[in-house]
Symmetry: C2
Subunit: 307 residues, 2 copies
């Protein structure tokens, strides 16, 4: 638990492509009644369907924890998010375009709503409480099925109207052909499993299965893993050259590989760079609930409370 | 002339790899006595040799313009510059490492000194007065013999202790081999002339000569030009994905190509990007003296004057 005390309880909702995680964070900073429900997918009204479900969750949590009435709610979602305008600009998985989340959620929930990006919110918690807190120029990468990131420059989150941190869609050299592809297609946990299956015909238990095989001497697995490391290092070096990144925090499923990922990544980054500062590569310390905690901090900030 | 009035005159020095440009900017914002002298290169004491020359220039300008006594000086240099610490961390061309410019220059010149990076200072002037002033997330690229850049995020310069904006050293796909090279080796005016000469055996008048030949139907020249456009577009798209860049200002010698550069660059950037915002590509408006004006503004800022 990383949160301190505040004046009031807040609701927090982490809306993902598959599940919504929800809970109440009480005034002492404790998470109560955390639950996970399927994300409703309604192509005709994707944003509204999600908010209907959040209103139900609010009612459930309110009757379950009458001693902790929420004075604000934090909602975080994936995709392109303009948190200042309160708009979900685009989500490939969830289907909305320019949905006015803050306004609609405030109406439905009847309390002030802090709306923000899932990875940026989780990364802010990671950056405030984790291993990168001494650095000002930081990138937090969440490497799982896809790749998302939050960028900090001079100690502040870079948002650019929601368009910053799209590291998964940055170009990298294509290991399978001349030219380029995107980082997510080579360096994500999802891509590692997929590329290994395509090249070997063998289905394994995700990126972890590929790593186990690579460590056991499987040459195809070793190459697929090395390709992922190369691609991640390529993108990290872009960050170093463009914005002078001092530290990169790697989270998400792939970070569970620990030094099997970070050690070759450090070597590759070092080989690419010349006179530039070598960024610290740090494993994320907070787990899957960092997003929910980030949503709670956003909601508390709305109430002017201390994080 | 872009500068307004201020309380006092200031000295400005733009220290380049070949020349030092110097002048006085008087209280009305007029540049007086602008001159260009060779940069002294002394491997044993590179920083000191430059400052000795600046002290001479100060004395010359003071006796020439007794009506405009300078109350502060702005000095800008290339390389890696930590303007907060006042240190020239590294310059490949000029040879210093960790030279305490602000402290030493203040001693020698006897007036307060604002020390900063040449391209960042020129870019700040370009961004304040040029075509990108309405944007918050901007990259100013100076594409000449080499490539330098200044990065703005949320309206503020990204410095990262002097290590931001090294776009010339960012990796791009190598058009001549498998793998990667750096942007400067393909996308700079210098690289365009060099690669064309290497491939055709023909010496031309720099990148301009290559463009003339490409426009006249020379296939090698067209390919070299297209490679440069591809490399510049690749790096611009990295900026878009990492920090959500809205506008890219292109200056330096290569920008003189105008639409012969910007039109294919726009097309290529558009082809690489997917859901992302397309950045505006804008030709720099200020010329070679933007650096000197930037140095003057830095010096004025030190005195608390209005730019």
């Amino acid at each position: 638990m990383v949160l301190g005390t505040a004046e009031s309880a807040v609701l927090c909702f982490d809306v993902g492509g598959t599940d919504i995680k929800a809970g109440v964070v009480d005034a002492r900073g404790q998470v109560l009644g955390m639950r996970r429900v399927p994300t409703p997918l309604d192509p005709a009204r994707p944003g509204e369907a999600v908010l209907d479900r959040l209103a139900e969750l609010k009612a459930e949590l309110a009757s379950e924890f009458p001693e902790a009435p929420a004075k604000a709610a934090g909602i975080i979602v994936p995709g392109i998010v303009d948190s200042v305008a309160g708009v979900g600009i685009y989500s490939a998985n969830l289907g909305w375009r320019n949905f006015p989340f803050t306004a609609e959620a405030t109406k439905r929930l009847g309390i002030p709503v802090a709306f923000d990006h899932d990875v940026r919110s989780a990364a802010a918690v990671e950056h405030s409480f984790g291993g990168s807190k001494e650095f000002n120029d930081v990138v937090v990468m969440v490497v799982g099925t896809g790749i998302a990131a939050a960028v900090f420059s001079g100690g502040k989150a870079v948002t650019a109207g929601g368009f910053a941190g799209e590291l998964g869609h940055a170009q990298v050299p294509d290991p399978d052909a001349a030219g380029s592809t995107i980082l997510e297609a080579v360096g994500s946990a999802g891509a590692i499993a997929k590329r290994y299956h395509r090249e070997s015909g063998i289905r394994v238990d995700g990126a972890r299965g590929v790593l186990l095989r690579a460590n056991a001497g499987d040459a195809v697995a070793a190459r697929v893993w090395a390709d992922a490391v190369d691609a991640l290092a390529f993108t990290i070096c872009q960050c170093v050259n463009i914005i002078g990144t001092e530290a990169v925090v790697v989270g998400g499923g792939l970070a569970e590989a620990g030094d099997d990922l970070l050690e070759p990544l450090r070597k590759r980054v070092d080989a690419i760079l010349d006179f530039q500062r070598r960024p610290q590569l740090i494993r994320a310390q907070l787990g899957q609930d960092a997003g929910l905690l980030g949503a709670a901090l956003n909601a508390r900030a709305l109430l002017g409370g201390t994080p």
